[in-house]
Amino acid sequence: MVENKTFTRGKFVGARVPRVEDDRFLTGSARFIADVKVAGMKHVAFVRSPYAHARVVSVDVSQALALAGVAAVVTGEDLADVGRLVDAMQIEGLSKTPQPVLAVDRVRFVGEAVAAVVAEDRYVAEDAADLVVVEYEPLGAVTDAVAGMAADAPVLFEELGTNVLYRRSRAHGDTDSAFAAADRVFEGRFHTNRFMAAPMETRGAIATFETGPDRLHIQTSSQTPHLLRMALAGVLGMPEQRIRVSTPAVGGGFGQKIATSPEEVVVAALARRLGCPVKWVEDRRENLIAGSHAKEQIISLELAVTGEGRILGMRAQLIGDGGGYSFNTSSILVEPQVAAQSMPGVYDIANYDYEVIGVVTNKTPVASFRGIGWTAGHSARELLFDEVARDLGLDPAEFRRLNMIAPGSFPHRTCTDMLYDSGSYTESLADALEMVDYRALRERQRELRAQGRYIGIGISPYNELTGFGTDSASQAGFPFPSHDNAMVTVEPTGKVTVAVGFHSHGQGHETTFAQVAADGLGVAIEDVAVVFGDTSTSPFGMGTYASRSAIIGGGTVSLAAARVREKVLAAAGRLLEVSPEDLEIVDGRVSVAGDPDAGVSFAEVAGAAYFDPRVRGEGEDVYLSATMFYDPPATYSNGTIIAVVEVDPETTEITIERIVASEDCGTVINPMIVEGQVHGAIAQGIGGALLEHLAYDEQGQPLATTYMDYLIPTTMEVPRIDVNHLESPSPFSIGGIKGIGEGGLISAPAAVTCAVLDALAPWEPRLRTLPVTPDRIAEICRQE
């Protein structure tokens, strides 16, 4: 149990506080990376490989260099002084594939950068990029992870001699006995779709270099400024305190802007080399082929079940298709490793064996995307569960309830050694069923079926590992120690600055952290400003990903605010000549408890603390500032999403009628922001179920290279989404907070897919390759 004295719930925490940052975006005055100009800057365009796998025989830049307005053209060889990108994971048995920031000798996916052009504007830079002549010798391409494992498959990294970079099995419990004792065994092999974060703002960076002593300032669209600074220091060979990473407004990330991108390094290296600021902003095609992809896995599952529907054991083999390089956050492992660890989900499964295999293929590298690993694993498991329930003649909700971790059994340690702190699994299932009026809905389904109309219900209960710190990382199978900081300062005028290492790219941190600080200090939210996204003004932090900001940020900010509050009370005590214990802070006034008139304002205390030597105690630090760190234990949020759809078997059209989400992220700081996270993640999940797929042909050519063929859901595909909040505060975290960013994308693809298949139940559908496209529905409905 943690001390929760430090976390104060006052006027703001828990309230639907409107976001303090909104006006900036609503007036068009927010500055994103593409909006920033630096005096004297030039523009970069990349020359990208048209081949999935090829030897680079020669690169001729002469014509490009001769074009008016071109300042430089560089190839991989020119950047020999720049280190290769390599992941930081220390995982036994994991082979490394350091990635050159510009290809040298060989390209391994379509879109890999081979050269970079610097010119006076982007138009000229693109013209010149077209004039770079690269001679390639095409090699056989690996476009599927299973094919890539074959002995005679082309090998991407000859020095490794294999495309299989990781392979490891783990056994939990006594799975063989469980299978021997089962009445029925079910199995299925699922191939989940490759889809991507596709933030509305593509990636981009502007680098400025000053010499003597050297200083690099890179402004970039990043979720993790401090981590990027570390990475740049490594590959550029510069001390990190001479590098400043700052982010202007960032237009969404969803995981894609965590990893250091080769382009960011090239931009920094070019600024150093050329001595002028350089800017790169990618276009959508580049983002679709060279920004990271995600979520593709090939998952084989076996389930040992009793005749009544009790799960006795499970076996899984998870193959991750990592794409051309496994540098960033260990591309080949982020998906299958996390999926393997979290496969039991909200269910009480004691016997479970898994094998994780990571393979490189000639496709775009994979990296984090909201709900990493989980989405694919969860989808496979829930699809199989529906098959099992149908086969056993059980209601799918009942089958799930029967196997859920029971209320009252938290904390619960799973067989994979994840420690679920708290949760409301059966409650949230019941809540979501009630939200859709499940019985009546089943009745309606029967009636409509008789009329030749097919509605379906998809039920998808989930949990989500949140508060990604040292403990969470290790529970997910990624030993990645971390800690984060917040600095809270009362300025001489009594206004409050909160500086954090977390990053905000839509999550509303300027509001939530201000809510926490305002309540912690007893001041108005208007008097708090949150500073983030700049390594020169924020304390060290890991940035924003994996639903970590609310819990770790909320925790660090409340710890720092509590420390500063003590200092304020000490100073006010001297001013008022009373003991600090007798003082309280209400609405920015420090006064004797119960006597608000006999007090001083925050501004008066602050002024005195800074400028009046009489309030300083002997040897005391009177600076009204504190930097506190926090690295919480793992926490788990949970919820249930239910989708109701109608499918027209003639036209294959799918209409999502409605989606409900009963979610539980413990203490809610701002319900409005939580709902926004849930809505947004579910919308991405709808895309993942029905529309979004990064298909390749046999040669490894990407087939989705514009928003005409990579379809993002619009207002027409995303229906009304109702959200109910349950609140099981974590006993482990400060304030009982958990995270909420990923759940919607973990569980909505399964909810929607299961609903479609439920609608088509009369055809006894089997669907194991995602997404649910019209041709797959047509195929199902053709079967008699």
Binding site: P18, F25, T27, D127, P199, M200, E201, G506, H679, M708
Partner: protein
């Protein structure tokens, strides 16, 4: 190999100010507005006409400025989010967007504001279905649209 650029003079009225620039004929209206005039409220999300982030009003009609050349808009009247948000209907939309949490990262927001500004021009009391249909040409990756739809419907009723 070098090329000397062909240049043309373009005159247009942007946010009530007449501007004259000498530009390449291939310059898009979006880049003209953003780079030549430094009005960066207009965003580029796809540059091929699908996402709607670059929407501006040309002669009062919404156009995708990424797929319009500056020379095509020559002589015309352009309005961007910077002007529209200051007008009464824009201010109403702004308040409604805030109230309904209609934005997260805010990158798609100018496009949605310009589209809905024009949408509310001659309509009041939009239904949810109408709003969804009319807004379907703009992509938002963050919000799941619910807040946006609610905001536009509410702002339409205030007329």
């Amino acid at each position: 190999m070098t090329s000397s650029k062909e240049l043309v003079e373009v005159v247009m009225t942007v946010n009530q100010t007449e501007v004259t620039r000498t530009v390449e004929p291939r310059l898009t209206l979006a880049d003209f507005i953003r780079d030549e005039l430094d009005l960066t409220g207009t965003k580029l999300g796809c540059e091929h006409g699908v996402c709607g982030a670059c929407t501006v009003l040309l002669e009062g009609e919404p156009v995708r400025s990424c797929c319009t050349l500056a020379v095509q808009a020559a002589g015309g009247t352009v309005q961007t989010v910077e002007e529209l948000c200051r007008l009464p209907r824009g201010a109403r939309l702004r308040e409604s967007f805030k109230k309904h949490h209609a934005l997260q990262c805010g990158f798609c927001t100018p496009g949605f504001l310009v589209t809905s500004y024009e949408l509310l021009e001659d309509r009041d009391e939009l239904t949810v279905e109408e709003a969804r249909r009319e807004l379907s040409g703009n992509i938002c990756r963050c919000t799941g649209y619910q807040g946006i739809v609610a905001a536009v419907v509410e702002a339409s009723g205030a007329d």
